[in-house]
Symmetry: C2
Subunit: 209 residues, 2 copies
DNA sequence: TATATCATGTAATCGGTTACATGATTAA
DNA sequence: TTAATCATGTAACCGATTACATGATATA
């Protein structure tokens, strides 16, 4: 019953995966604003990480106090100033130190699979509608990933028009990651289609709405 | 610049996916303690959702105040009392209402893929060690899922020894989910092995440590 | 004889989501 | 002319993780 005050940890973790996601993009692509970073996240990191823009901004502020990035303010008319962040050497070192650790974490939160798991509690027809919505969602994801691959392929072979537009094309990992994402979504969508067939067999009268 | 107090939302969401994960397991399997639920989560829901035991306990308390479950205390010697929770009709209705909504959410947090994405910033040999650790992790996951499938298959054909031990065997969704999880991990591990081959080609001298 | 693991839960902290703000274009 | 979307950020809240507790039995 005795209450023991927790002693401050010898070295509180000052960064987590999303921190390195931001840091990696700044190093990979170059100086950017929080807004740009959000888009880079959605395009490049969507297969393995999602982040709200608000959190990216927060991480940027934190990393600035850590001395990992610097910020330069660009004034604009009728729009909030752009705060352009750049990675500096301490940040680059932190990124490398993280890469040196083999520790990995994995979190999956898939509400579609959860609903399917307990699908026997769904009212008639409801599960079919959910699966259809899920199939549409994942087909769109698959299409995006295929488009990403297309960009990687063309820009790799052709001379670059916009300078600095596509540094990742020459990177050996970007394409591999995209290929995995595509394959995973192909498996997922095929599985959903088979499930849909099964549901249609069971409840043919509910096939449309 | 005016500060506007936020008005309380007309109807605050009283549940989120994990709530229905707990609820679904209680309905699917039967009355359980928080401890049992944690194990059920790890076995049945691991392909799509992870939860710390502390959060499961918290959800149970919340759901009790909502009137979705009831709790009965079982006294034990030299061990904290078991609090056994049971789903009641309001909870069953909430579960069905959730199933009736086609809305789905998806969150992926894969630190391994993140490290690989920025693998060009890793010190020599570090990425290879990370990929090896990741491969071991996912091979273990794959083995677990295959074992789950095995259990589903045998218990489905044979008469059940322990009563109530395996209600899910007859369920059409449990096996399908497991099959998807297996296929996904097969794709993932194969991809990791190919990546490892690529890395070994690049840095043959670093192949061991 | 330490050290895990089983068994069962509570409390504090923090990562991440949702809401709040603003104003200019573009589309319906 | 109403509503999106682009563009850019801050503040509040809450879901989820980590730490705290306890005491058996099993394992090294």
């Amino acid at each position: 019953m005795a209450i023991r005050r927790k002693e401050p940890p010898a070295e509180q973790p000052e960064a987590y995966p999303i921190t390195y996601g931001v840091l990696g993009l700044l190093s990979f692509i170059g100086p950017m604003s929080g807004y740009d970073l959000k888009r880079a996240f959605d395009h490049i990191l969507s297969p393995m990480w999602g982040a709200a823009h608000s959190q990216i901004y927060k991480e940027l502020r934190r990393m600035e106090t850590l001395g990992w990035v610097t910020m330069e303010r660009e004034e604009q008319e009728s729009r909030p100033d752009r705060k352009v962040y750049s990675i500096i050497s301490a940040g680059q070192q932190a990124l490398t130190a993280w890469e040196a650790q083999p520790k990995i974490s994995l979190q999956m939160r898939d509400e579609l699979l959860l609903k399917i798991t307990f699908g026997s509690f769904a009212p008639p027809g409801a599960l079919m509608a959910t699966v259809k919505a899920g199939l549409a969602f994942h087909e769109e994801r698959l299409a995006e990933f295929r488009e990403n691959l297309h960009h990687l392929l063309v820009r790799h072979d052709q001379p670059q028009e916009e300078p600095g537009a596509n540094q990742n094309a020459g990177d050996p990992f970007a394409r591999r990651i995209t290929l995995l994402a595509i394959e995973a979504e192909e498996v997922y969508t095929r599985w959903l289609r088979e499930l849909l067939d099964f549901l249609k067999e069971r409840e043919p009268q509910l096939e449309d709405r």
